[in-house]
Symmetry: C5
Subunit: 141 residues, 5 copies
């Protein structure tokens, strides 16, 4: 997943973005790793990349990680973009790879946008856009 | 959903309300965005607008976002009105739009009321009022 | 529910109790409202009155509200007595009203007791007492 | 349950242990009560005694209480031993009483051990010991 | 489980690692114990070893413990490696022991790696590695 982030960053041709990487054993170790990156390494934003398994216990772990990531954001006053791909999201490894690639790529673009301004993503709001899977479309009167 | 908020504000004819908008990729990014609006932009109240999907994972995301929004309120000492519409709340897109419009509109009115005084909503309490869907009615002796 | 609290207070004939009321749109708005009452209005105790719906999403909302209320207590070092009545607790509106009345009334008495001393409720402990519904009785050797 | 704690303390013949009691309406009121005991009454450890009902809502309440008790420990830097007995743990009142007595008694001994040193319980670790119910045994190569 | 940690540490031949042990009654007592080890004993990292039972209530306890452990990490700015083995993970005691041994051993190696640098585990990332059970493999284009 890190390679996809790197490619999206390269493609964006944003100048002056420096990338720090922190590898942890599992998704539940992500909150503290992000906190260290945001506070000690003075990063401006984090992407929390993880691929939880397909068992009930893995969903629980991911849920706990997500709660921790939200708390970390509130403690650091910075965004963390969570990019979790569940092993049961795709019907086979090929589809899973595609979801992984799209979601990670799109969320890297989102992360860059959030760094720029709070309205950068405005034109995409309310369009039912889902990163890595089919969009759900717009609803209107 | 933002347009509906804007319309409700215009209809209310409340003078001197300034509106700030912050667009994020998903509902789990709302807590930190609200925190920034309440603390850095010095907003007095937030409306957290989101439309979670209809899958179990989407419910979990919304649950995590809601917990984060409550924590954000406790940290900032300000109200955040959560307006989430679930994609499976309506039987079709038309009904979904209606729920979205009503709930968002009504909660904008609620937000204005909360800004004014802690008793502004008193006359509506205990009436079983549900924003965006059928009211459940009053119970009495 | 507020009227029942008021009646219980009147019946208790406790002198010098001043009552503040804060009305919010939904149960998830209760934690921040209680925090404001306890901190800004310098209330000594709160009663959080709510009537969540009977859908799964309503249970989730109530769960989030309850977690927020516990956090609020830990932040303010004061008690909040949660009085939630679920719309599916009674088989009809009449039974629901009875539960509402009993639970709210009894918890108002509990709130007064907690204000007085940490041992005021001691004689009722371990009796299987349930506010608003049938008591479950005592267990013994 | 308080009587069982008292008996276990007496049986332990530990000198100089002073016991403070705080009675609350329900398990969700335990976190704030423990916080007051640990901070204001300067207690060194708490035992949170509760007997949640057998309905789904009671499990949710106990879950919220447990989360609150863990947060309270992290805020006060002191142990709280949670002793919850669920009304559906025993097949009848007699069995329930036995579980209650054993779990409460054993956890009182645990509380005394934790007060003494961080290694006092070491010889019991990894033995599959369950307070109040059948032990699950040891696993080995 | 402690013996396995000790063996992994010995095998690693890392010089100068000092080991502190803290034994608690159950997994829900781990967060406060870790906090004390990280803050008062000035440990650099914790391993939280636990073996929750196979009942629903045990899963809930482990979930609460996990949330508490993540909060503890955010409060202390240090890693805690959670090593929980569920009694229903293995089909018999022999398999359970094997999972326990592998997961505990591997996570001890992870803990040592995290102490050294944030990139020490980098070469293992995205390989679908699961401590104590079958790896799930890599996904690629």
């Amino acid at each position: 997943m890190f390679k996809i982030v790197k490619k999206a960053l390269d493609d964006s041709m944003e100048p002056g973005i420096k990338l720090e990487r922190y590898t942890v054993p599992g998704v539940k170790d992500l909150p503290i790793a992000c906190k260290k990156l945001l506070e000690k390494q003075k990063c401006d934003i984090c992407m929390a990349l993880g691929m939880p398994g397909d068992q009930p216990i893995d969903k629980t772990c991911a849920h706990e990680a997500s709660q921790g990531l939200i708390n970390t954001q509130l403690q650091t006053n910075k965004h963390i973009i969570e990019v979790f791909i569940y092993l049961d999201e795709g019907k086979d490894k090929k589809e899973l790879y595609k979801i992984t690639k799209n979601r990670t790529y799109d969320h890297t673009i989102n992360a860059i946008a959030l760094l720029k301004s709070k309205n950068k993503l405005q034109k995409l709001a309310g369009k039912g856009i889902r990163q890595g899977s089919k969009n759900v479309g717009i609803i209107k009167e």
